[in-house]
Structures are given as C-alpha cells and as structure tokens.
Amino acid sequence: MKNPICIFIVDDDHDFAKSMADIMELHGYDVQTAHSGEEAVSKFRDQDFDVTFMDVKMPGKNGVESFLEIRKLKPDAKVVMITAYSVEQLLEKAIRSGACGILHKPFDMEKATKMIEKLRGRNGSIKNNIK
C-alpha cells in the first residue's frame, strides 16, 4: 500500500490551519500542523514532509526566515509560501531561494491540491516553475 502523502501546514492562525488541514484530510492526505516558525523548523529535524505550506507573516520567526532555515536542514524540502498580505521583497527572497510557489489568502483549496499533485513524485533537485 502506498504511503499517504504527508502535508505540513504552518500558520500562527490556529483556525486557518485547522480549516486547511480538514480539507487536506478529506483528500486523503496525512496532515501535520505547526503554529510558529520555530515549531516548524523543530519538526523538520525529526521528519520529512512531501509538501509544506508556510504562512509568511507570523510573530517571532517569519515564514521566509523559517523556510531558509528549513532549506539548510533539508535542501530538498518542497515549500509553498502562503500569505494574506504580500510583503513583496520577502516573497521574492523566498522564491529566489527555491520556494515552490505562492498562494494568496483567501485561496481556493483546489489551487493548493493542484500544487501538491504537481510537486508529488518529484525528488532530487527542485525546479522553480512559478514566476
């Protein structure tokens, strides 16, 4: 039996993370959540995730800083940035450093699941197709 795909959702807004996790589970994915950059980095030390959705604006370590740290730990990590308010320079930095894409809240979950399908099965080097 195939291992279910494991999705990691990082957002300081507990409700948003839960609502997104619910839908991911409906699609048959395994889901884990974290509510801070620090928690996310810590979890990445112990496990791997197929796709991570990382909120940009969080108190403490923001999403981009966390992403960069995670990349150091796991260079193959596939991370999609999600944002409610785009801080352009931060987002550009994330993309330049290899983030797999950006989603703007509120987004249709179909966009998220489509991204997962696209990124699924890719391993090794990560090509950034999103301009």
């Binding site: 807004d13 409700d15 619910d22 839908i23 604006k57 409610a84 249709d108």
Partner: protein
C-alpha cells in the same frame, strides 16, 4: 527695491529722487493720507517720511502704518529738520521708526542709511520666506506620516481580515463535502470554525470603526454599580473563568452608555484572552467599582500571565499588537473613550503576576 518718498515740500521729494533713483525705484507722496494709501497699494520696501507735515504729521502716519498688518513691517526713515531736538528723535525711534535723517539732507548719509535699511529688509524678507517654506515642508511631512500610518493600517486590516475569510472559505468547502458523506462531526466543527471567524471579521471592522469614529459622546445619568453588573451578566465568560464582583461604589455618573460599554467590552475581552493564553495559570477575573477621592474607578483584575514591561510601554500606541489576530487598536480606543469622558485608563502589570486595568471617571 522700491522706496516711497514722502514730504509736503516738493523740492525735498525731488532731491530724494535725484539721490536715490539710480539704485532704487522711487514713488512719491506729498501728504500723510497719500503715503498710507500708496503704502497699502504698492508695498514699498522702505518709506522715507517727513515728520513736519500739515494735517497729519510723520508720527501720526507711522502710527497708522504700524496699525495695519500689510504696512506694519515696512522700515520707515524719518526726515527731521531739528537734529538738536533729541526728544523728538528718541520719540520717533521709540514709536517704531527704523532710523532718522536730518535736514538739510546729506546725500552720502542718506544713501548709506537707505542701503542699510534695504539690506535689513531683504534679510527679513528672506527669513520670512524660509519660515513659510519650512512650515509647508512640515505640513507635508505630517501629511506623509499620516498617509503612511493609514497605509500601514489598511495593510494590517487587510491581512487580519483575509485570514478569517480564508478559514470561512475552507470551512464552507468542508461542510459541502461533509454533507455528501454524512460526516456530522466535520459539519459541526466546520460550522463552529466558520461562525467564530465571521465574528472575528466583524470585531476587526468594529475596532477599526471605533478608532476612526469616536467623536460626539451622548451623556446620560447612570447608576454605575447596577449598570456594570448588568453588563457583566451579558458576557458569556468561558467556563474555566470565575468572575468575582465587588460593585459598591454607590456612584451615579453621566456617561455615554454605548461607548463605555465598548471600552469595558475591550478590557474584559483582553482579560479573558490573557487568562486563556497557553502560558497562563489564570482562572479569575475580579471586577470592582470604587469611589477613590475625586475619581470613580472601575478595576478589572485578572490573574493571567501579566504583561512584560517592554510591551506595557507601547500598549497605547495605535497599531501595536502582539496578538496573532486583532489590529492593535483596542487599547488606544479605550484611552480615547475614557478621555472623551474626561477620565482615563491605567494599567498595572508584571510578567507572571496578572494585570489590573483601571478605567476611571471624574466624579461630578
């Protein structure tokens, strides 16, 4: 530069013109009334004014020039025939004349004094111009800061509202799927998520409106203790929080019910959130009303985690927020409301020791 030469004797005026016309533009008058009229109309830079004139003498003309805003700043050089008469000279200078020249007129002296007056007038005009420029630049800076703050506010609010909107969108999708598969648990939890976040949007918008809207308060006389008790009855506090009341001030006050309700609402909400915080061992909210000298004080005491000093310092700054949600307008709004009532708000807190918020009003 333009000089207004005034003397009732035409020969004298002619002489002044001859001496000065190479370097200055000259306009002339032969009596006080015309002098004043021309000064207002033509805005000369300097006025050379004979003292001894029939009808209106130089002192009277100077007095009138000084009374009028448009001519007050023009330096006036008196022409006086009696140089030995120091009293008159002193009187002239004290009454606001810039300088004096004695007749018969010596051209070099005249030119020197006029040139000096001209230099000073130029310098004064330059100062005035720079002052006006500086004021304009300051106004523009203030406007820019306000726009920047407004921009920041709009960005913050947009962000704050997009989060709950995203949650509601997701929850609605989940409900749709859950209905198809008869998953009542998911329907329930998603409905709760949606409802909570719709309320959140509403609260954020209210905070914003409060912040921009506090203007006229409408006062009515209210028995504070019973009114506050009624408010507390309306709040649905979480089960793990005990609310202990001591409402025995016995004071009646003129207040705006709606605004004060909002302020108290904010304070109670903050206290509840603090107690519910994951770092808190709190379980109690104490509400007390007490007459303290000239103040009626409403104390809201929670045993939550307290507020560290570096946050306490900033707590009344608009847009400052440490919470994951909320736009950081609560405290400044409370402060505004209390100050509209001629009262105030005080916060005492220490990390680890809970927080006391005091809303106070003057006892009338």
């Amino acid at each position: 530069m333009k000089i207004l030469a005034v003397d009732d004797e035409r020969d004298n005026v002619e002489l002044l013109c001859q001496i000065l016309e190479d370097d200055y533009e000259i306009i002339t008058a032969y009596n006080g009334a015309d002098c004043i009229k021309l000064a207002k109309e033509q805005h000369p830079d300097i006025i050379i004014l004979d003292v001894m004139m029939p009808e209106m003498d130089g002192y009277e003309v100077l007095k009138r020039l000084l009374e009028d805003e448009s001519t007050r700043e023009i330096p006036v050089i008196f022409l006086t025939a009696r140089y030995k008469d120091t009293d008159r000279i002193v009187k002239g200078l004290e009454s606001g004349a810039f300088d004096y020249i004695t007749k018969p007129i010596n051209d070099e002296v005249l030119l020197a004094k006029v040139n000096t007056a001209a230099r000073i007038k130029k310098a004064e005009d330059e100062v005035k111009r720079q002052k006006a420029e500086l004021e304009k630049a300051q106004e523009e800076l203030i406007l820019k800061e306000r726009l920047a703050a407004l921009g920041q506010l709009i960005a913050t609010v947009s962000h704050e509202i997009r989060n709950p909107l995203g949650t509601v969108q997701n929850a609605v999708f989940s409900i749709g799927e859950a209905v198809k598969h008869n998953n009542t648990d998911l329907i329930d939890s998603s409905l709760k998520l949606a409802e909570r976040n719709i309320k959140r949007c509403d609260r954020i918008i209210n905070e914003l409106l409060d912040f921009t809207r506090i203007q006229k308060i409408e006062l009515e006389k209210v028995e504070i203790d019973s009114w506050l008790g009624g408010l507390l009855d309306e709040y649905e506090l979480p089960e793990n929080i005990e609310c202990v009341r001591d409402l025995h001030s016995g004071i009646d006050l003129q207040i705006d019910r709606e605004y004060l309700r909002r302020a108290i609402n904010n304070v109670v909400t903050n206290a509840v959130q603090a107690i519910q915080d994951e770092n808190s061992n709190g379980n109690q909210l104490n509400v007390k009303s007490v007459a303290n000298g000239e103040r009626l004080e409403l104390h809201f005491i929670d045993n939550g985690p307290g507020i560290p000093e570096e946050i306490l310092e900033k707590i009344f700054e608009p847009l400052f927020s440490t919470k994951g949600f909320g736009v950081g307008l609560g405290m400044p709004v409370i402060k505004d409301i209390m100050e509209e009532h001629k009262g105030g708000v005080e916060i005492k807190s220490k990390a680890g020791q809970g927080t006391t918020v005091i809303l106070w009003l003057p006892i009338q």
